[in-house]
């Protein structure tokens, strides 16, 4: 837990210029100008601060996993209500925005708008590594590397996810910060480890008043040796072990009548190729889907577009796209029937939406992320990325850490 700035001998975090951000209610200014009242200002300040400190209402900017821990913090084990913190659904009635979760470039403008809708005085808590820095998504095209690039953050609560207790500690630290607000000071940096005792839940852990020390030993033991069961095929130092046997092809698990169908009706020469599912001609593909649907393969499972960039050198290969499809039969002994299409760059695949309505969003996703067109799709828009996004991120030539000003 670190509060922005302060503390000597530590590397300073970038601090927002607080003087520009302070807000005073107009009545406060009027009050100060009343002669005589200003004498009592210190105690009035104390009362005003006390009010804010003890009533930090939270606006949950909960986007993902950390949001679940935010909910858990409001639930019975930690209970934020103890310190008077309740969760308000509207930004107009909250003081603290808790950004819990990954903020993507599509979401960031909304977060900013919501932040601007909150009335002063307001604070922000970045909960979890995603909100602090982007976590391991930091260098990916879609993720904002830390919410403090968008709005001023007061308290950082690290963790992935931080425990509910940690969030409560964060709020208590914020309380300290609020207390010093009018004095224009920042609370001292929290260095003493014993300070953390504040957050230890006083409730006894579940069924665990006295934990058997043997458990810990065993845990350590098993963690050390968990993967030691079989060292026989461990490669000797320096030796690169060849890859395992060629994988089991999917087609082999398909019923023989499916193979026959593919061979006889759809002219597939190789019904169980080594590198994946059988390849079907682009024109016959919708007919095949229709046929499979009639045979009881009723659930659309997936369509995956893969980009194979142009290869030069020893085994040159042109740039191409591959679409893998699978459908699943319903009920006992459920099976997957899969096939593939090979496409040249720019070639469109016939859409399956007419056969399986479930293909709708998956095809949109593949168009959005890989850039394969689906002819006859009723609504081929981007689905994951913003409408005006440039390029198709899952192509191999697309840089993973592409910039997206102003958000990343």
């Amino acid at each position: 837990m670190a509060v922005n700035g302060s503390g000597d001998g530590h590397k300073r975090l970038p601090v927002y210029d607080e003087s520009e951000l302070t807000y005073e209610h107009p009545l406060y200014g009027a009050m100060l100008s009343v002669p005589g009242l200003s004498v009592g200002v210190t105690s009035i300040d104390a009362i005003l601060n006390w009010g804010v400190m003890n009533s930090l209402w939270v606006f949950p900017m909960a986007t993902s996993c950390c949001g679940i821990e935010l909910m858990a913090a409001a639930a019975s084990r930690v209970d934020l209500d103890r310190m008077g913190t309740i969760v308000r659904a509207t930004p107009r009635q909250a003081e603290v925005m808790v950004i819990a979760g990954t903020i993507t470039v599509k979401m960031a403008p909304r977060v900013k708008a919501l932040w601007d809708q909150m009335p002063e005085p307001k604070w922000a808590i970045a909960m979890g590594s995603c909100a602090i820095s982007g976590d391991f998504y930091r260098n990916l095209y879609a993720v904002v590397p830390g919410i403090d690039t968008v709005l001023p953050v007061d308290v950082y609560v690290p963790g992935c996810p931080p425990n509910p207790e940690a969030l409560m500690h964060g709020l208590l630290r914020l309380k300290e910060k609020v207390a010093l607000r009018r004095a224009g000071k920042l609370p001292p940096r929290d260095d003493r480890p014993d300070r953390l005792q504040v957050t230890k839940p006083s409730v006894a852990r579940f069924l665990d008043p006295a934990r058997d020390p043997a458990i810990d030993e065993q845990q350590v033991e098993s963690a050390l040796h968990a993967t030691d069961t079989d060292r026989s095929d461990e490669p000797a130092a320096g030796e690169e072990r060849a890859s395992a046997e060629p994988p089991e092809p999917i087609a082999s698990s398909q019923p023989s009548d499916l193979e026959a169908l593919l061979r006889d009706e759809f002219g597939v020469a190789e019904t169980a190729p080594k590198d994946g599912a059988p390849v079907v001609a682009v024109e016959r593909h919708v007919a095949l889907a229709r046929r499979l649907r009639g045979m009881g393969y009723e659930i659309f499972t997936y369509v995956v577009a893969t980009h194979f960039p142009e290869k030069t050198g020893k085994a040159p290969a042109p740039e191409r796209f591959e679409l893998a499809y699978a459908v699943r039969s319903v009920g006992k002994g459920s099976k997957v029937a899969s096939w593939r299409l090979k496409l040249a760059p720019g070639e469109a695949a016939p859409s399956l939406v007419g056969v399986y309505a479930g293909a709708d969003w998956q095809e949109r996703e593949q168009w959005d992320l890989v850039g394969v067109r689906f002819a006859g799709h009723p609504d081929l828009r981007r689905i994951m990325m913003p409408e005006n996004w440039d390029g198709h991120p899952l192509r191999k030539d697309y840089p993973a850490d592409k910039a997206c000003p102003p958000w990343r």
Binding site: Y23, H25, Y28, G51, V52, S55, S76, R82, P119
Partner: protein
Amino acid sequence: MNATSAIIHGAVYGTIICVVILTGIAVAIWFERKFAGRMQSRLGPTMTGPVGLLQPFADVVKLLQKEDIVPRDADRGLFDLAPPLAAIASLGAAAVVPWSPKIIAADLDVGVVFVLAIGGLMVVPTFMAGWASNNKFALIGAMRAVAQSVSYGVPLVLATMVPVVLAGSLSVSGIVGWQAQHHWFALWPIIPGLPAFLLYYLAMLAESNRIPFDIPEAESELVAGITTEYTGAKFTLFYMAEYVHTMVGSAVASALFFGGWDGPFRPGLHWMVLKTLLIFASVYWVRWSLVRFRSDQLMALCWKRLTPIGLGLVFVAAAFVQFWPGGAR
């Protein structure tokens, strides 16, 4: 009592009652949060003051110093007017509630009508707020509130008519006094006191927007309903108005159906406060254990069930007064 002394009496007691109710509301909010906490196996506020007692005061101190935001496209005049109006409308009805034979701000001859009229007024600021906010969630909330208040006004009136008919008086203290001499209406065997109280209770929940009838606010659907755009002090007024409305509703219920200040051993004030608080607490008991209705179900419940029942009750009460040997009076 001449006019001047009536005015002085009203002003003194009115102020005292307002102050007491508002303080009471603060305690009630604390009580609700603790109560909800216990229902949910939590603790509720503990850190602010002893056992969290100062929590509502901290909330108010905080809310009053928040920035006051008026959305650009809001209807400024209405937006500003709605919260004080809500507070006034909800507090106004407290005027005719007899807290003891003496403590009553204005002992009107038509007290019951006054309570119903002022309570019914709550819908105006609610709709004003929803409309003026220029927010779609607030607007939907306001439309729901209007539909709900107007509909549930009918069973509410019918339910209050039962004690009026039985006691033959439109004055709240008159009804209480009548009950002191006979029985509390709620203790009347099945017909018609107790059903009338239950009907009143349901309609009161609806009128004061409490779960399971809290669709105008419905924070899981409409974010915060009519108060979505309100900040700081204005929101505080709405927040208080809601509690005052429930509190006054409970007080009226205990006066009309539970014999108000009537009771053995203790002074009337104690009994009145005790009864009011019990009814008030039961509202929160209901609130924290049920989910809410949908708006069309609410309407159906009101017009198809409660209103016919209410009419039937009034009819039975009238017949009772008319045909009971010697009359109920």
